[in-house]
């Protein structure tokens, strides 16, 4: 711990040429949202279902597709080498290029979920607390075609591939399901700024430093037994430089914090895309994309 902390501190000021997570220069999955955010099972009720949607982006605008699967190994800390989707997953039926449906009533899933509960059904206490179900995904897009060749796909090869996993909590009806938060807008500029126009007409000067402030929907924060939800934000851009990938409205230890980050516009003019993802820390996710242009 001490060593890790020291390394973090030592590296706090390290200059590096490595690609940043906030820079979208290749196929990326920036978030996966489940609708609803949790599945609630009721005695004798219809098995619930959720739709997973990946925010899969490719800066060149190349088409992307995402395949989802219920992972066979439901270890709470999944092995990163899990072949899911693949030999170790049961595919979810697609609901679009980047979406799929997880239906608890699908008979193909029952053996997997039973196996994760030691071959039976989870007892009431476990179900009341909630079971995190592991869903794997794989996003693909054509290989980069930028003039310089662009960065290779995460797994190399002719396709760019991003693999990952998400979870959805299944619990009984002793408590209400968590709701996804929503983002109302992204504001740009000092003193609270102005909303970035949804139609892409917002423009900023080259190399200018702009403050980006996410605006959650009024009912985005739900009350929990531990107090109001803590919303965490992630920021992404296809160009320019962000001062921080993340912000939060409340720190892990309860201190209120500013949610804005500073974005330095690129020196080159032209259109670009920005994304903000909000997570409530309990499985709820929302995202918002905006386009702006850099012009003198």
């Amino acid at each position: 711990m001490r060593a890790a902390l020291m390394v973090s501190l030592a590296c706090a000021g390290c200059a590096t040429d490595l690609e940043k997570q906030s820079e979208v220069v290749k196929l990326r999955v920036l978030a996966v949202r489940a609708d609803p955010a949790e599945l609630v099972v009721t005695d004798g009720g219809v098995p619930p279902r959720a739709t997973f949607t990946a925010l899969a982006v490719e800066p060149s605008g190349a088409p992307t597709s995402v395949r989802f699967a219920l992972c066979i190994d439901q270890n709470p800390t999944p092995s990163p080498t899990l072949d899911c989707p693949g030999a170790q997953g049961v595919d979810l039926p697609p609901a679009g290029d980047t979406s799929a449906v997880f239906d608890l009533g699908d008979p193909r899933f029952l053996p997997v979920l039973s196996a994760s509960a030691d071959g039976g059904t989870p007892d009431a206490a476990v179900l009341q607390e909630g079971i995190a179900v592991i869903i794997g995904f794989a996003a693909t897009a054509p290989a980069h075609t930028e003039p310089d060749g662009g960065p290779a796909g995460a797994d190399g090869g002719p396709l760019q591939i991003v693999r990952g996993y998400t979870t959805i909590v299944v619990h009984d009806d002793s408590r209400p399901a968590n709701r996804n938060p929503d983002l109302a807008s992204i504001r740009i500029g000092p003193d609270g700024g102005v909303d970035i126009a949804a139609d892409g007409t917002t423009a900023v000067p080259p190399s200018s430093v702009q403050r980006l402030t996410p605006v959650p929907a009024p009912d985005a924060k739900e009350a929990t037994a531990d107090g109001p939800e803590k919303l965490g934000y992630s920021f992404f851009a296809t160009a320019g430089s962000l001062s921080s990938l993340r912000s939060t409205d409340t720190t892990a230890t309860g201190e209120p914090a500013d949610t804005f980050v500073d974005w330095t516009a690129p020196s080159a003019t032209g259109p670009l895309r920005l994304w903000v993802v909000v997570r409530d820390g309990r499985g709820g996710t929302a995202f918002l994309e905006r386009s702006i242009s850099v012009s003198p």
Binding site: R2, A3, P80, R163, Y165, L245, T248, T251, E255
Partner: protein, 881 residues
Amino acid sequence: MTVRLPKALLPFLICALALRAAAQAVPDPAAPSRPAPQEAAITPPQPIGEPVVAGYPPGATGAARVVVRLDVDAEGNVTAAEVATPPQPGFDEAALAAARTLHFAPARRGDELIPVRIQYAFNFIEPPHASSGPRTAQAQPVNLSGVVRERGTRRRLSGIEVTVAGTDLGAVTDAEGRFELRGVPVGAQRIAIAAPGYRRFETEEQIAEGRRKEVLYLLQPLYESPYEATITGERERQEVSQTAIPTTEIQRIPGAQGDALKVVEDLPGVARTSPIGGGLLVIRGSKPGDSLVYLDSEPIPLLYHFGALSSTVNPDLLEGIEFIPGNFSATYGDLTGGLVEVKTRKLREELHGYANLNLLEASAMLEAAVPGAPGLTFAIAGRRSYIDYILRAVVPKDGDVGLTVAPRYYDAQFRLDYRPPGSAHSLAFLALTSDDVLGLLVRRPPDQDPNVSGSIDTETGFQQLRVKHGYRNGPFSLETIAMFEKLNLRFQLGNESFSLDGHDLFLRSTGNLALGDDLGISAGVDVANRRLLVGAVFRQSLLFREGEFNNQGPRVDEPLTTFPAALVNRFSLGLWAEARWQPLRGLTVTPGLRFDAYVYGLAVQGRRTTYTVTPRLSVRYEPTPLWSLKGGVGLYSEGARNGDATRPFGNPEVLPERAFQVTAGGELRPLPGVFFSVEGFYKKLTDLIVRSDATEVIGGQTVPVLLDNAGAGRVYGLELLLRKSLTERFFGWIAYTLSRSDRVDRPGEPQRFFDFDQTHNLTIIASYALGGGWQIGARFRYISGNPDTPVVGSRYAAQQDVYVPIYGLTNSARLQHFQQLDVRADKVWTFDAWTLDAYLDVLNASNRRSVEGTLYNYDFSQREQFRGLPVIPTLGLKGSF
């Protein structure tokens, strides 16, 4: 001047001798200040027969003092003699000629006759002029007396000849540096002192009729050192592998900043660990934690303040360190690696102290005798960093990371020694405290971990109270140390936290008995009871172990484990006995046996007890002081540490780890002060505690096994040490280790490198006193890069917005080698009663930033080398009195 006998060269206690004659043999000046180690019951050789007088060389003028080194064999004959002082033509030859005619009653260890190397001094006084009166006038009253001290350190100098020019009057200072002259002619008289290592001293005194004059003479050393040298006779070598470094050398080693523990890394068998990791002790391929640092025979829990900037014990209270990399005797237990024994020094009775300022910290120390209480001395020392004041000034208040508690550390020591004159008993009390704190407020989570935000607070500290009683009566001696320790360790890192409050008791008692000329026995008891109140909210992968590839930090998506505050006990009892048998001259056989019991577990649940019996044997053959052969073989055990035997951190069923160690080698002392050692070693490690993915059913519940004893390993290598001990101007060494350390984490799994496997480890140190108060030194290190586990891919954990690495084979890659040059320069100004040392210690003087690890980008598709610290100069001032 400081005269340091070559410690590594002399296997025996050394004594200086006094003879009084026209050319007299007198004690070496600093010899009386030597704290005679109680462990070494050696009787020095005594000159027998007619006093040997060195003739005053024809044609010479003035006074001179020649110190010679003599090899005295077990029969008391001088077998070799050489001059230890700077050349003094004529006087040197006369001294050597006289020295070769000396004969001694042999030195003894107990009743055994042993060869030794000693220093012996001849003082030459210019023959009186024809008109001079008698050399001494015992019938006349003392009319000139005083004390001779070293300028700056105020150290009393014994064995110094004080002469009255133009007469044959002279006197030699006693152990307290005092002299008395009788019958000094009335009127103005030139007083002269010529002592090796000091500038010639001359002054004029007005002698009045019928009056006694009291004077103080201060001798200017030729090569100033702000550090008082104590001539330490070599402790009796009871260990197969043992290297002792005195404080006087430690204080001058470049890059060590005068810190005793940092010097350990420069010795053979010790791996270099990154200072960013806090300074770990890795000896002969054993993981950190398998090796311990003892302060006067009891462990200290934290070696360094954060960042390994300073050690937690003031180096000015130390006599030096003894480093034992393996095959240690039965005295030590509950560890399978090596050990460092840090020895505190004997306190001085006169008022001494220092104040030290550098860019990071300030420290001070004071020691003296307690007035009116014979035999009672005390010392008090303290240190505090002021990094907090600097950072508060430079860290922006509204940045992503703010300081809530600026980093600072402090430590303090208080010591009280009571050695009643003439008593067989001695008593010592030592109190230590150390504390490090750091508080940050992280307003925006870092890229690597969204869980880390808010307060990041760490505090580590300890307090120890020690009482040591010593008793010596003829062939029997007994030393007992009791210690109470309070540990304080807590951190909060976002939503994870850990707290530990320890209240520990230690007891160690060691008895020695000489049973005859060739047999002695030692036995002891060694008890440690740790009672820890522990609470934690953590991720298991945070508790990474040796060989676990979490060089990218803990798994962000891992669920938290909560461990409500509970009492955890760890009790160990060691009983040991050892014999020292000398069947032949020069041959010492030391068999030993140790019994250890380990009891650990939660205080409120059943505890598990395990036992180990570990026999050990060492052999040393040393027919002459010039060379020796040595070897050792033994078993070692180490009880589970750091919660390894406590759920949910570990598994109560784990057994002690074990090691089988073999060492063989030889030592050579070809020249005075020069020591060469070569050692080969092999270690077989078994029952290593490793992580397990298995589960077990306990009380009807399926729980993870977490840890078991499935690991094994082996370490082998060769260590070379060529060392020149500090005499007057130069000391240095070349240490080289060739080694291989590997592990098999579970039967059937592939063999892998140990985390700190460093094939080549070379350290070259040189320090030289230029004169005029200038000293320069350099340290060069070349060390093979550590093994590294590459990341070969990743998966995106969408809920946490992080990428989880996929690792390649453990330690299948290797970092670039480490290479660094450190330099140090000291300038010492010597005043009558104090010295001022200005020093510049430059770490990484060539600014070659070595690779300390591998940095990856967010999805592990790109990597670059993480480089260590750039050039770091440390400028300091230290005033000592």
